[in-house]
Symmetry: D3
Subunit: 223 residues, 6 copies
């Protein structure tokens, strides 16, 4: 029953680029504080910030065969999202696979497991968010699936959903909600610009957000 | 009963600057190996090294309202110390709050929970030591306290205590002990200078510290 | 019964240098996916890559006395490998010991516990792989052993075994297998060069490794 | 946008009872080694074994309001499945809610968070599988959803899916696959009965499963 | 500077007994959701439920000497609370110490570290809440303190504070608040009795707590 | 290169029985506080206490094939010790294998991974110490080794070494040291009997162990 879905729908490129510019924290807030992958998903090297369409890969524990299969399904501008069917820290992914993905225009990797050749990944400027760094090799014995819905670090990722990732972590936006979430995220940013200026000039959040009455009503005492 | 104490005593500025120069490991040793916060408290970006007076904030899980309240209590040169009343990795703090704190002359943040906008925090050179990096948003529903004694990462921090923090972690020094601890720390450093020179020149610690007899007495055998 | 073995055999210097050039992931694969230390062993600063002969130290929990003893047993080009007899995150090691080791030509430290003075360690370019960063001080009360077989982060390390370490982690190679493992590792690298070129040019791993038939035989379906 | 779906489809009662009899390990194998919730989900008391239709609840961190809402949606024979939108160990659930659920014929609770009043839960024979035991109270401030698909301990659970749980943990079976999985699970059990008898009589698995040739072919040597 | 305070004040015996009857979850709620020790503090054997005055012990890592010192400070009806100055899972405590404590009328032990001889502890019916079970032995080399304020599993415990402990975990009540907290806890219990009856008879919490309007006002939709 | 060693030496049966009677904590102390497996190794059911000769099995991650191979190498009175070559929580072992082992007179299992069918294991009174309980199935694809030295939960176990295990955890005694360790352990027990009696009668450890002078000499003050 293992399958590879070869056709998936993707969000519009402009929407994806717009979400990249907003960043993880803003996008997560804009869609109602959902879609965040577990905080243990950390960038292998810091400074990357992107959004891309997910090509999802469900892999057996300690077996990276399906990643090779999934490379072929990558379109320019996609990101690969790998989720093991049971928890694993093994090193599923290294510089050879990164080179292969870059050759296809892949923007990066999100993997709820380990990666290796991390010095090379940084040198290649190939962005990776992973659960672990581990040189532990994997086998190629058992099939999995490509482009089915997966649970990656506690979040459901459907093929074609938009992944937003930066130094704060990784967030997933449903493909069909992406345009709407972008609008809300951009509204937040517009709104935050003015606030930031005021806060940076020394205006207190207590005054800016008019919190003093609510605090007093809840019973806060100054002593 | 939630309260904000608006007046706290602080250690003398010279003492605080002196402790900053000594660093966490030395200060911790100088005061008898106490006061270290849990080793899971890591700098969001490496290279900061400081000491400052603690303004303490006790916050409910997943609720950052009181941080806004506490900003007003910050004096130039203080550091904010945030402790949730039950464990949380949520992202209580981001770039807007950092800008607000910097506007008041706040030196940094120590938080036994998560923070976000970490790329911005590094760019702003706002030092943060935290338990986690997480974009997970928080609510503003429940009160807490400002400037009461808190337990942060396993250590008691009273308002006005001196926080020393660098790449090794975070240490707290009781305000009333600060001058005395500084003297002991400076004595250690003076003492270490000479030792360092000898060790770097190839003298063995075994000889420098005259350990050979004690080792033999305890029964160590060379074979 | 605590002992210090003063004579250990080491692998040939050329073999050690050869292994350093191969890196952890390749060496680990070349020797049949064994010898990897636990993935929680992380470099204190990134960018170091080395191989060296292990001088092993078995230490009591929270007691670093034997590290001082072991310094004397270091030959130029060795690495120190420290394993507590029960789990500990304490800061056994700092800049003074690092200076002392550098004076003897020691290449680095692998320790299944904590270290401190990490900003200094990076400035000194002294490579350390550790379980934790912690300023927590240790005592000097109880003996341990130098140059006995130890279990470090889940792997057996014998004195004189070759430690290979880089940003991916740490791997141990039996001294007597080192020359043979080097050959296999170099063969992998030679073999990978051509593969890398092809993958980078866009050839799919599916084709390069001729996986399509095996996948079909196992039942993979494209839909 | 928070919603309560009041109508969900459930699997046939006979199928559910059949799956309960098979147990978690067998069901998990029968459906191709998928559907297992994270191994950190442990029974509060040992000895319960059941299968039931899931009523799912998505709750904010540290807020148990929606559990009260979900009680009303329970039909006799259901199980409640609670998943926080960000990780929490708080004690969302205690004896009062358990009594309320029992009054409605609810078979148990699966919660990716904490519970309390555990002595009472055992005395009431109300089965609970949870991530933690914690007395930490929660608030009733923020809405969530009832009977939407949730990710619970890493597994997707749709309302109406069949939950199988025993001392080994918790497994979810898609409602539409339940009858088919039951057949496969029962076939495994029938098949295992004969095997068990032989193994218990001293026949080796090596012979029973005819493994010797495959092992030799792979290169296993007896020395 | 290590000290043993030989005189501490205790709460009234009736108050202590009253709190024992209320249990951890209720007491924790009654005092405003504070005072809970970390949820990793688990009973070595289940079924004990008690309240007692704390005799506090601050111990070095892996060193149990001060526990012997503290035994003498135990009065009939006290509980010993042990907190290491840095994290440790070592087995500080076993059957001999338990016998010694029982001889003095000590009600139990709370220790943020490990214990051993757990089968004996259960047979002796000596209640212990600990972070770990470990046979790892400790040394007797370094002093600590008895009856000073300690941080145990994240909570401040002062000598003479009331410890409440049961299968749900451990909670500390300030000695000076104990009588007041007891009243609030008893009021909760009185109030809960009626609620429990109604809920058990099938009345929904939604109706009992009159939640429907608030939920609708927040925007909850039934679909 | 995977091998099965078919001949191993074992300790004398009387020595093994003697060690069983002493228990883990005493044996661990008697041999100088070494040999303890990591404290995360917990009994699946409580109350078993045994000693036995180790038949060791090195298994790949998530692959239990070699356990079937190892069953044949079990002699009456042995215990099986399973160590994966990289960390795994998968359920390598269940009731069928337990039945097969019991048929050969095997006393139990120690496994640095997961097991399943735990209710059956308890009913069969087959003792198991494991890192995890998990229903997660494994494959039978890759070879490993039987009766080679392994690292299990951080401790080296050689084939034929004596495993001592009870509710406190698991300890390994070198086969060649077993008789000597037994003598020391029995001496401890003889010595403890008298101490226990005195302590239980109310004599303080401070007096029994004559600690008062040493404490005063170190500077302990009573206030």
């Amino acid at each position: 029953m293992p399958i590879v879905r070869t056709k998936i729908e993707r969000a519009h490129a402009d929407v994806i680029e717009g979400l990249a510019a907003c960043g993880v924290a803003t996008v997560h807030e804009a869609q109602g504080r959902i879609g965040l992958l577990g905080a243990y998903m950390r960038p292998v090297w810091r400074g990357a910030r992107l959004a891309a369409s997910a090509v999802t890969v469900s892999v057996p524990p300690c077996d990276n065969w399906m990643i090779h299969v999934a490379v072929e399904q990558i379109h320019k501008g996609d990101i690969m999202v790998v989720a093991p069917t049971s928890p694993s820290d093994a090193g599923y992914f290294g510089d050879l696979l990164a080179g292969s993905l870059q050759a296809r225009g892949c923007k990066g990797l999100v993997i709820d497991a380990g990666v290796r050749d991390t010095a090379d990944l940084e040198e290649m400027k190939f962005p990776v968010w992973s659960k672990a760094i581990s040189a532990q090799g994997t086998v190629k014995e058992t099939l999995g699936d490509v482009n089915i819905p997966v649970v990656c670090a506690g979040a459901i990722v459907n093929p074609g959903d938009v992944i937003v990732a930066d130094d704060d972590g990784v967030c997933v936006v449903r493909r069909e909600d992406a345009a709407d979430v972008l609008k809300k995220a951009q509204a937040r940013i517009a709104n935050e610009g003015e606030k930031r200026e005021k806060l940076n000039s020394g205006v207190l959040g207590l005054d800016l957000y008019k919190m003093r009455e609510a605090l007093a009503a809840k019973g806060l005492k100054y002593v």
